[in-house]
Amino acid sequence: MTDKPVVLVANRGEIAMRIIAAARRIGASPVLAASTADADSPAARAADRVIVIGAAPANQSYLRPEQVAQAAVHAGAAVVHPGYGFLSEQPKLCELLEEEGIAFAGPRPETLRAVGDKGSAREVAIAAGVPVAAGVEIADVSNVVHLGEQIGYPLLIKAIHGGGGRGIRLVTNPEELQTLAPQAAAEAEAAFGNGALYVERYYGKARHVEVQVFGDGFGRAWIFGDRDCSVQRRHQKLIEECPAPNLTDARRKVLHDSSRALVEALKYRGAGTVEFLVDTETEDVVFLEVNARIQVEHPVTEEAFGVDLVAAQLRLALGQDPELPEVGPVPPAAVIELRINAEDPEADFMPNSGTISKLSWPRGPGIRIDTQIEEGYKFPPYYDSLMAKLIVRAHNRDAAVAAIRQAARNTTIEGLKTTLSMHDFVLSHPDFIAGAVPTSWFGPTWEARKENNA
């Protein structure tokens, strides 16, 4: 018998291990909601109990709010932690749990809705005084050239009701704008049933910088610095670091102050991230979106500031003090994280699955590994390719880059292809070492390397 509160872990892989560790840390009992593919996983063994919620494909298990909610009822859970991805930003799970009197370790459903749609998120941001990309609605598609002059080139034509990257056109000059605007309106009408468009400033050489926030749900905000996640391939982050390098005090203040205003305005509950584009060609800083969940890259912030954000989420959801400190804008250390994926960087990053035949991690001060893989683990083909996160902390960025490069070289994963060699390339590259590469840097740089080697 136990009177420990039960934490239902509604996720898998490394983040399931992470949530289980946080549950242990606060003296709770972790129960894993798993698909059949994960019923005997390392996370399943680490939990006090496993509840099988469905078949291996995520759309028959991890993506089904009613199955997760039912598992929470079976487990007698006090709180459900959704991790990232899957149901983490779905208001439906949160609502089902509310009906059962079970807490959700995340924002309220209305917050998830307000920030979940790009149009509404932009409105919320503007209302809170967060800088957004200059944009203006097109009133008449045959008369647009003056709008181009107002915004400047290049610019983007966007469908107001568009989503998922659809309905976006890049425009570099007035002639193109005049030709493309009517076409885009017709396309938007056909695709979204509404031809409304706006034009927005385009940033082709911007960095991705984000701010870690935490709210108590009543308007109190904590800001835990910033992260740079500009090393990306096709919008997938590969390497993240805290703090963002080469950021002026003035820009950092804009990022942090506007994120705080957003948390206060939303009365945001729990952990979240406010994402921005930081231009490398102008002084502009513009809002991208709010990620209303714990993120993959949260460990760099935790290590830099010495906090446990996942434990804080659970404590808050349980009605307790999240036990978070007030911290300054810049942490006393520099931390870098590598996402080690089961992908072959030499074959267009094709994912692969298989059995881990040999595994060995580096050890030493400031090294953290978040993973559920172990020797003999059969990496399943059903889910995303993230195998492990290697996180290294040092006294400054140069030391962190050098330390994590060696840590990556001292990592052995055999049995399937991984992205470790790609990380070595980036960590040895003078552009990355100098800091502040834009998000457009990795793709062409990686391709050029292959050509140079050919």
Binding site: T36, V52, I53, N59, Q67, Q70, A71, H74
Partner: protein, 161 residues
């Protein structure tokens, strides 16, 4: 031979029928059949009629009930001796349509693949559970009102009898 429908095809079908005037519909694609009802009772179709108040409530809330009548039984984690019918979803297993009513099936009963052997309730939505294979039922391994997981063995079945 019809092509196997995807999950999305089934969802599209549910969405279409949900907006239509049909009270109930049974559709077969190849070896998969789907029975949908807009009312609180199934009229004909592959699944046995199931009338339980919570279903009506769920339907009133606009949620269609989807019953894959001939879904393949999933692999059970730890199968007892002999063949079993396993829970196709997490939920609470009920052997009878309402408290006090007769059980859907008893040990010794001969069942066909589409015979209803119980109900699994998941978040107040009642799902009739079909045997999935023909045979003679043995002992029930899951009791009435027992919490079950995906793959929990519900009842022993002798498919050679």
């Amino acid at each position: 031979m019809a092509e196997q429908p995807s999950w999305q095809d089934l969802l599209d079908l549910v969405a279409q029928l949900n907006e239509s005037n049909f009270e109930s519909a049974a559709v077969s694609y190849g070896n998969i059949s789907v029975t949908l009802s807009n009312s609180d009772t199934f009229v004909g179709g592959a699944a046995a009629p199931v009338a339980v108040a919570p279903v009506a409530a769920a339907l009133a809330a606009g949620t269609p009930v989807l019953t894959p009548a001939a879904a393949a039984a999933p692999a059970a984690p730890a199968t007892p001796a002999g063949e079993t019918i396993d829970a196709p979803m997490i939920g609470v297993f009920y052997r009878r349509p309402s408290p006090g009513a007769d059980a859907f099936a008893q040990p010794g009963d001969r069942v066909e693949a589409d015979t209803t052997i119980g109900i699994i309730e998941i978040m107040k939505l009642m799902n009739p559970i079909a045997a999935g294979k023909a045979g003679v039922l043995g002992e029930f391994l899951a009791q009435d009102a027992q919490a079950v997981e995906f793959g929990t063995p519900l009842v022993i079945i002798d498919t050679n009898a």
